[in-house]
């Protein structure tokens, strides 16, 4: 199921949150509604943790993680690191890494098995990723953009990439990631997928500007629709209605 929401009237929810299969991080917002939406969806299943990184709220773009671990930039303060270590389950390894490219969320895109990284990432970082996250690392570009973490979002079931990706690139990435990929947009034609959308294996959150068409594409590629008919109708209603007058 995909939910539409806003962080302080801004539709780029992927910037202010990070969703994985084991935990969810949200930024400290002005109002509690952002946090409460996540909680409503996920509270019984996985912990939802409010945090900041390096004193900033753009946590989604600064950190990268999956169910096995979480990587933090060198700008993270010790208190934040400790807070995260305390809040997250013990199975999750929290690691702060020294890397010149400190916006790890823009440079690394991963699911539980494979990660795509910025082509200019250090060798040590790459090893760290493979170690902490337990994934296979590939250096790639998406539609000619080196910030792979921004222009694609994928889970273990599917992925959405930049709309200008050519068919050959799409095939190549699909074989690397072993998941079905589709080129599409989010937030009414925005090409920056990962900043408008955050997704795990059973749910997704996207900005409220996302049109019904985009939402249906997201739900179909990430296989978020459940089999039961009533649930289907409910979900369809949610995705078909753009705005409530």
């Amino acid at each position: 199921m995909a939910t539409r929401l806003q962080f302080e009237n801004n539709c780029e929810v992927g910037v202010f949150s990070k969703l994985t299969n084991a935990y969810c991080l949200v930024a400290i917002g002005g109002s509690e509604s952002f946090y409460s939406t996540f909680e409503a969806e996920l509270a019984d299943v996985i912990p939802v943790v409010k945090t900041s990184i390096g004193g900033t709220r753009i946590i989604g773009r600064l950190c990268a993680g999956n169910k096995n671990g979480l990587l933090l930039p060198h700008t993270t303060t010790d208190q934040e690191l400790q807070h995260l270590r305390n809040s997250l389950p013990d199975s999750v390894v929290v690691q702060r890494i020294e890397e010149r490219l400190s916006a790890l969320g823009n440079c690394i895109s991963c699911n539980d098995h494979v990660a795509l990284t910025h082509p200019d990432l250090d060798r040590e970082t790459e090893e760290m990723i493979a170690d902490v996250l337990g994934v296979e690392v590939f250096r790639q570009t998406i539609a000619g953009n080196i910030l792979v973490g921004s222009y694609c979002a994928f889970s273990n079931r599917g992925g959405l990439v930049h709309p200008h990706t050519s068919i050959e690139d799409l095939d190549e990435l699909s074989t690397l990631l072993q998941v079905p990929l589709v080129a599409g947009t989010v937030n009414r034609g925005s090409e920056v997928i990962a900043s408008g959308l955050t997704v795990n294996d059973w749910t997704a959150f996207c900005g409220s500007d996302t049109t019904a068409t985009e939402l249906s594409v997201i739900e179909s590629v990430f296989k978020l629709r459940e089999a039961q008919p009533s649930a289907l109708v409910d979900e369809m209603r949610k995705s078909l209605i753009d705005t409530y007058v």
């Binding site: 068919i167 799409l170 599409g184 009414r188 034609g189 090409e191 068409t213």
Partner: protein, 523 residues
């Protein structure tokens, strides 16, 4: 370098879900157009003002431009009248047909603008122009008083023939100097030019000259300068107060330029006053005028010396011709013997001794003359020539009397005659013809045989053109459509009369538009 071919896939339009190529906005064109209207804020209705008399359109505040319907200039004008068009990029513009009497002009424009995040959208829209009729100032003035002129140029030359005016007429046509004249009046001894901005009304031909009427003083001045370049003139100008507004101190005048062309023409025989001869290095008092442009070229036929007098030099000590082309007599050359030859001012002359007799005497009596002539390069025994008969002439010139002890030659030959050959070609039309200015003729001081005299002079002028290539230099000649070349080919024999080659002729272009507009040229 091996590059992988990149095929762009298709994405769904984020609004309508239609499959499309990804673009900067990731919306199909229809959705984009429904979202954004780039023609918002652009003018769709404009009023333009048109003068029905002269088909011109007003460009505020005061310029009227003449333009045809559905022309490029009108399109440019319509687009210029649109405000705010600088916000979008104009790609294409064209007229949509409207009924000419509907007073509406429709223009379809295609504009491009950048929207959203870099997507360039192109949209077509129509602008409707309402045409309102209003008479422009010049038409109002013409309607109020059609003959009103502000500046007049009166051109006079006090000679008995009109050769100069024929030549001047051709020059004016060639240089289009009379496009600004409203009326050209041909007077007895000159031409009056009244100058007006671009709308010639009529030209009046008087007995002694031509008058032209114009509306702008500066046009009159320009015209006078033009005449000054082609002949030596003396001018004066005057003005007359027409009206005067004491409050704003505006004075309206009528300006008159009086221009007198010097009476010396080509082929005139002149006796130079002693002072003038002295300044030119004692040039023999009898000289022939060979060329008149803005200065007079004089040639002494016996010494082959030449000199030039420009307008100021002439008018300081003006002199008249002793004998002019009307008094030329025909002679037949019996014998010729060259003495010396020289190149004078671009043309080759040769001094020769010739034995000649008047054609009227030839065969009847034995009067022969032995004379010295400068036409040795042209004449052969048996040729005919024109010259001045000083032996039989009774000259009453003051200048001549001042030269004591001057021996006058009996005959001075001026030019070769092609009279006999012309007899053969008498009725055959020429290959070329001339245009003429549209002049009014003032018939007040006319004699009955004036028409024939005029025609004979015009014919003589045409012959002059045929014989003298340098005279043709400044004139446009047009091909005569009625001329049949086939007959002529069979008639060529030994020595042809000088004729104008076909290549020199301009095709008679049917410039009907211009002629209507100018109104002063007719074939």
């Amino acid at each position: 370098m091996f590059t992988v071919p990149q095929t762009i896939g298709s994405v769904l339009c984020c609004k309508c879900g239609m499959l499309m190529q990804p673009n900067a906005a990731n919306m199909c064109a229809k959705c984009l157009r429904s979202e954004v209207d780039i023609t918002e804020g652009l003018q769709k209705h404009v009023v333009i003002i048109h003068c029905p008399e002269c088909e011109s359109y007003l460009q505020p505040p005061r310029t009227w431009m003449k333009m045809q319907l559905e022309s490029k200039e009108l399109l440019t004008f319509c687009i210029k009248r649109l405000k705010n068009l600088n916000k979008v990029h104009l790609v294409h513009a064209e007229f949509i047909w409207t009924e000419p009497h509907s007073k509406r002009i429709k223009v379809r424009l295609r504009v491009q603008k950048e929207v959203l995040n870099g997507a360039v959208l192109e949209q077509a829209y129509t602008v409707e122009y309402v045409v309102q009729d209003q008479m422009c100032e010049s038409c109002t003035r013409v309607q109020a008083n059609p003959d009103q002129w502000v500046a007049a140029v009166q051109l006079r030359q006090h000679v008995s023939h009109r050769r100069t005016f024929f030549y001047l007429e051709q020059l004016i046509i060639k240089h289009d100097e009379a496009r600004n004249a409203i009326r050209i009046k041909q007077m007895d001894q000159g031409i009056d030019f009244f100058l007006e901005a671009r709308n010639a009304i009529r030209i009046k031909q008087m007995d002694q000259g031509i008058d032209f009427f114009f509306v702008n003083r500066s046009h009159a001045g320009k015209f006078v300068d033009f005449v000054g370049e082609v002949s030596p003139i003396r001018k004066r100008n005057d003005k007359q107060l027409v009206s005067h507004d004491p409050k704003s101190n505006n004075y309206n005048y009528k300006y008159t330029f009086s221009v007198e062309i010097c009476p010396v023409c080509r082929e005139d025989l002149i006796c130079l006053p002693p002072k003038v001869a002295a300044t030119q290095g004692n040039l023999g008092p009898l000289v022939i005028c060979t060329k008149v442009t803005n200065s007079i070229a004089l040639l002494d036929p016996f010494t082959l010396r030449h000199c030039f007098l420009n307008a100021e030099q002439y008018w300081r000590a003006p002199f008249k011709a002793l004998l002019s082309s009307r008094q030329l007599v025909e002679y037949i050359v019996l014998d010729i013997e060259t003495i010396s030859s020289e190149v004078v001012g671009g043309s080759k002359y040769a001094v020769a001794d010739a034995q000649i007799a008047r054609v009227s005497d030839f065969g009847k009596n034995d009067i022969l003359f032995n004379v010295r002539t400068h036409l040795g390069h042209l004449l052969n025994p048996g040729d005919y020539a024109f010259g001045y008969d000083l032996y039989g002439a009774n000259s009453n010139d003051i200048e001549l009397d001042r030269y004591k002890g001057l021996v006058l030659p009996e005959v001075i030959l001026i030019k070769k005659s092609y009279e006999e050959k012309r007899q053969r070609k008498r009725n055959k039309p020429r290959t070329w013809k001339l245009k003429s200015l549209n002049m009014e003729i003032d018939n007040s001081t006319r004699g009955r045989d004036h028409e024939e005299k005029m025609n004979a002079e015009y014919e003589q002028f045409k012959r002059d053109l045929e014989e003298n290539p340098e005279l043709r230099f400044n004139i446009s000649l047009y091909r005569n459509k009625e001329y049949q070349p086939s007959e002529m080919a069979s008639e060529t024999d030994g020595e042809d009369i000088p004729s104008i080659q076909i290549e020199e002729l301009l095709d008679n272009l049917d410039l009907s538009d211009e002629e209507m507009e100018g109104g002063i040229l007719k074939d």
